[in-house]
């Protein structure tokens, strides 16, 4: 069960009308390493992982939905007032003819979201290593979007999201250490 707080995890402000940025951001919305894939991956893995780290997967999976909501807000703000001509100039005419300015779960190249993005091997170490890799890939994606974006307010929100990926990666690394049961062992040596 979830409790919903009717606010964003971090404010989303967009300075310039630049629908091209929406084209890049959609990668984090419906892409393989995007927030939706991350949320579904973690929440799904909870059932087949040792009890000690279930809570971590619940927390991080839930937070990924908060990130998804931020990305959706960014894309919405960047495209809601854009004319068809502006969307065409931004390279998202293909999206427009199918969806108007509605959001859709696909990646920056227009490939629709697929469940095969969600890894679940059932082996705790394999799954947690997958999660660590997913966080580092999402961190890299945010860097590439920041590199392409010249909107200071948007970049501020993206930097917040990138920092959260770092923390999530750290916690998954610690989860691996917990499952290895090597933590603090040397104090008994």
């Amino acid at each position: 069960m979830w409790v919903y707080e009717k606010k964003l995890q971090y404010p989303v402000k967009v300075t310039s009308c630049n629908p091209t940025l929406a084209k890049y951001l959609i990668e984090q919305y419906g892409g393989a390493d995007g927030e939706l894939a991350a949320a579904l991956r973690y929440l799904n893995q909870r059932y087949t992982i040792p009890d000690k780290v279930i809570g971590l997967l619940t927390d991080i999976g839930t937070e990924e939905f908060a990130h998804l909501e931020m990305i959706a807000t960014m894309i919405y703000k960047l495209t809601k007032d854009a004319t068809p001509e502006q969307l065409k100039a931004a390279g998202i005419a293909d999206h427009y003819v199918n969806h108007d300015s509605a959001l859709f779960y696909h990646n920056a190249a227009g490939v629709p979201f697929t469940a095969s993005y969600i890894a679940a091997k059932g082996d705790p170490i394999a799954d947690l290593y997958e999660d660590i890799a997913a966080e580092e890939k999402a961190r890299a994606t945010y860097q590439w979007i920041i590199n392409m974006s010249d909107d200071p307010d948007l970049n501020d929100s993206l930097r917040f999201l990138r920092e959260r990926e770092i923390i999530h990666s750290q916690r998954f690394r610690e989860a691996v250490e917990i499952l290895k049961e090597e933590r603090d062992r040397k104090i008994y040596f």
Binding site: Y10, R139, A140, Y142, Q143, I146, N147, R159, F160, L161, R162, E163, R164, I166, I167, S169, Q170, R173, E174, E177, R183
Partner: protein, 72 residues
């Protein structure tokens, strides 16, 4: 631990490569790669600052800016 959170390398550029060389390629190595298990009693940001930065601990904070823009 004194580590830079950004590393770089120079990819080989052949005389026959069509584009001018990019020079340095950059990649991030954020603090989580070096921490292992987080030690107890690390210094913390104030709650307000932590919400703004995305982490409670200065040890994990890694500000990112476009390294290619800075170079120009």
């Amino acid at each position: 631990m004194s580590t830079s959170n950004q590393k770089s390398y120079v990819p080989y550029h052949s005389p026959y490569d069509p584009c001018p060389p990019i020079g340095k390629k950059y990649y991030s190595t954020p603090p989580n790669l070096y921490m292992g298990f987080q030690p107890y009693n690390l210094p913390q940001y104030s709650p307000k600052e932590a919400l703004q930065k995305g982490t409670l601990w200065p040890a994990f904070y890694d500000y990112y800016e476009n390294p290619y823009e800075r170079r120009r």
